[in-house]
Symmetry: C2
Subunit: 548 residues, 2 copies
């Protein structure tokens, strides 16, 4: 019998850009299609998406894309893949609604094949089938995906936590996980983000009490910032505000949009008369007002950051305001977030944040929850996903302690081919995958050498040297010109560089000067060496040779 | 009676570059002279130091610099200040020893006026005097500084924690704090870094048990990384290793130096026969070996980072090794640190880190310790230092809860002049202070516009356009040349820019072409607008006009 191949295009050995390919005979399916955010080593990059080359090379075999839930690291790369590969896109009704705006911005969605699923559906995809199973997370309508292959079920947990008092009352279908465990899970691809945390994570409900306490006690206005996709958190804020008699206004476009969509679809239920428009706020005293705002990641253009700078026209922070920071900093954003919080403090706004205030809980399973999933589904093979190497390693240590022998454990890297045979499994080679960098203009494919140049430019700037050559006569014409930006040499350093370049040019013979590349090399080399040696700086040296 | 002025040049509203000026009549003293590390918004910057303009403008009045302890954020800017202002430098013997190497690198230390103090000394400085009082921290020989002024004592706590079982057995002199409290503390400048943490911090001793457990249980080699200045941590590692029969080797130049200096001065006591050279390590089985290494901040050139890359010639990581990450990430270094830890995991090295392992404790006071200091010293005025605005605000909230009225509390910013009169105090104006950026070559004074250019270059690169002009004839000669680096336009975009520029130049009259600045403006403007409009990119556009 032929093999089944599982190939993560992203999302293993990292947190972000989740995208997993499952392949059986002539059929390929894609589970999730997310983005990740750039690190500090990627200046000028807006987002990072998986490398879809393998899928595009096997276009005709791709039967569909299946989405677990609507977080950016699971759906954010969809516009880029769908643009090249118009296959059926399966997602819950809620997820479709939430991602629609972003697809509309980049694609003609009328031409897409959008298909809605419900938990328990069996979605056929060639010889494979996919069954979504409800499981709780920090966003409504999250589903594990059970993929039936000829060698058993491959189960992708999706991001999850086991929350028995979810805000929307919709419980995880643990029963169904037990059933498919009986049926036979050959491979569990499990969330591992929170494997460092012992025990069982707190329910999303636990935040509500704290929100209520803050809303009741504060004498001024209370603002709350969270991810625009954190529908449950917003639901709880609306409820808590209503309970203590406060009205709620929303600032921030994406948040307004999401609340409107979710409200229409009844995924958020705003207590009657609680929501007001921002311009109605002045009709109420401060202690009767609450505000939901975007900006939890310190995004420069967000409402919160602009408020913290006193530059937001529609709303000014006042002494006596309280801000609830109800989110987790995405790594890399810490600096911007702390600067925002510090500015708010300076304006007299009290900010609640961090581990000493219970205004945020994680959406990911702690150790005992992860073990519960293993126990219920009884997978033969285990491969942690949604984790950096440290998370994967600690997850595997945990699995060993549960009795898993080494040959049933896999630490995958992006691009690895995990090949499942009837009675064995192994990582056999892999495909070429890399990160694809999308720049600020939205164009993917920024190459590594461009990034290298940018880091170089960022460190020491650019020095530009221009020389005019009469190529036929073999003569340098006029003066060497030099200019610099982002360069911090001592006073007079550019003049010295010019002298050094002139000296190098003088040493060239008439014949050598007829060779433009020779002149270019001489200018670049002499300038670069001198600057590095004399000033210990390494600017990018640009040489312009004008021929007349 | 005239006033006393307290002016922080750095270290308030931020964590780093601590430097406080105290001024009475004709006398100025400086307390600490530290550096801070650049944020992600300062590419190409090595360190940040205070702006010493005020001190240099008042050179003749400066009576001395007094150092609390040898951490970089308290001593790192000394070479830059001493270079311009050779006044007596007071520090403990230990601190002098630890900073000597760095001073030697930049200055002729023989010409400096280095003075050693002990706790309890009364150091005269014109009409002011300074009394160092021993207090515990994460480095040996840390002293609060009690400055006697005509309006009472100004007490700078220095960084501190109240550790009653310090590693070196040298207790804080709480009795003396009580006495000066009786004598009359007019102003307390208190550490506030850990004010967010309730209760009382754990003793440095608590780390030892954990180190011992890890060293005893590990079957392979055990490495520990920490700050090279964390002498007590190293002391404990040596002791714990000796207890379980392991030898200790050191990798990393700064750490080797510090251990040697401290060993000679008996500030570190290495159990006999415990320390070995790295090249002796192969004589011992893995479970008899331990290693101290630099690299706790993910510094690219450090031993640990190079080991994690498999690029360190003297030592290779092996499966079965354990690394104890016994430090705190300095904000901004998180990315580099996690990448290092992930690479170590991938090599089969187990890494212990973070809150679930008790291998690190903070050197800063928690809330109850901070309150103890207030209670003992009974200051009339309070001003938290060594904190971002959020720490300062929370400290002031804490003080209010202890009964301090508003007029006795100050939230200082760098450059504020806190003026103490006989019966009152107020922030009255301030001096111009900024951060001074020191670049990778060690030269201070990188201006803001250079940084702005660098950020711009980092985001979208540089496009360089060169035009040759016959100025007398008012003619453009030859072809417009274009090149780019770090720029990511679509294919053919540079050609399009050239066309646009040529079109703009064609439209110029002969007279206009005789005006170089007019030509320059036209080229820059047309190129910039087109690139921005067509490609949504904003590279730095460099224009070179060659005149013949």
């Amino acid at each position: 019998m032929s093999s089944v191949r599982v190939i993560p295009l992203g999302g293993v050995g990292e947190i972000g850009k989740n995208c997993t390919v499952i392949e059986q005979d002539d059929d390929i399916i894609v589970l999730d299609c997310g983005l990740s955010f750039p690190t500090e080593e990627m200046p000028g990059i807006d987002i990072v998406i998986p490398d879809f080359t393998y899928l595009l090379e096997n276009k005709d075999r791709v039967r569909g894309i299946f989405i677990t839930h609507a977080h950016e690291d699971h759906v954010g790369a969809l516009p880029y893949l769908l643009k090249e590969l118009n296959v059926p896109l399966y997602a819950s009704e809620f997820t479709h609604a939430l991602i629609r705006n972003k697809l509309d911005e980049k694609l003609d969605t009328k031409k897409l094949d959008l298909r809605t699923y419900k938990g328990g559906d069996i979605l056929k995809a060639g010889s494979l089938s996919v069954e979504p199973i409800r499981i709780t997370h920090s966003i409504p309508e999250n589903y594990s995906l059970a993929v039936r292959t000829k060698h058993g079920i491959v189960l992708l947990t999706s991001d999850f936590k086991l929350d028995f008092t979810p805000v929307d009352g919709k419980q995880s279908n643990l029963n169904r996980f037990a059933e498919i465990g009986k049926e036979g899970v050959v491979l569990l691809l499990s969330d591992s983000t929170n494997v460092e945390r012992p025990g069982w994570g707190p329910s999303e409900q636990s935040v509500k009490k704290e929100l209520e306490a803050v809303l009741a006690a504060a004498e001024g206005r209370v603002l709350l910032t969270t991810f625009a996709s954190n529908i449950h958190r917003m639901q709880q804020f609306f409820e808590a505000a209503a309970d203590v008699g406060r009205k709620v206004a929303i600032v921030g476009r994406r948040m307004e949009q999401n609340v409107e969509i979710c409200s229409q679809m009844k995924f958020i239920r705003i207590p009657k008369g609680t929501q007001i428009r921002l311009d109605e706020m002045k009709q109420y005293p401060d202690d009767k007002v609450a505000i939901l705002t975007t900006g939890s990641q310190g995004e420069p253009m967000s409402a919160l950051v602009q408020m913290s700078r006193g530059e937001y026209g529609r709303l000014q922070i006042r002494a006596g305001d309280t801000l609830i920071y109800s989110a987790r900093p995405i790594p890399g954003n810490e600096g911007a977030i702390w600067r925002t919080i510090n500015r708010l403090f300076r304006q007299g706004c009290k900010v609640m944040y961090g581990q000493n205030s219970n205004v945020h809980v994680s959406g990911h399973a702690y150790q005992e929850e992860l073990k519960t999933m293993i126990n219920l589904t009884q997978p033969y093979y285990l491969a942690p996903v949604h984790g950096e190497p440290r998370h994967q390693e600690i997850y595997l240590q945990m699995a060993r302690a549960m009795g898993y022998p080494e040959h049933r454990l896999f630490e995958l890297k992006d691009g690895d081919c995990l090949v499942l045979e009837e009675t064995s499994a192994a990582i056999m080679g892999g495909i070429q995958v890399g990160r694809v960098l999308v720049d600020n203009s939205g164009r993917p494919g920024v190459p590594d050498e461009v990034l290298r140049d940018r880091r170089n430019l960022a460190n020491d700037g650019v020095v530009s040297v221009t020389v005019v050559v009469d190529i036929e006569q073999g003569e340098i014409v006029g003066d060497t010109m030099i200019s610099a930006r982002g360069f911090h040499g001592p006073e007079g350093s550019l003049e010295k560089v010019t002298e050094v370049v002139d000296h190098a040019l003088d040493a060239l013979s008439r014949e050598e000067v007829t060779d433009v590349s020779r002149v270019r090399h001489e200018v670049a080399d002499s300038a670069r060496r001198f600057i590095q040696h004399r000033y210990q700086l390494r600017p990018l040296v640009l040489v312009n040779i004008a021929e007349i």
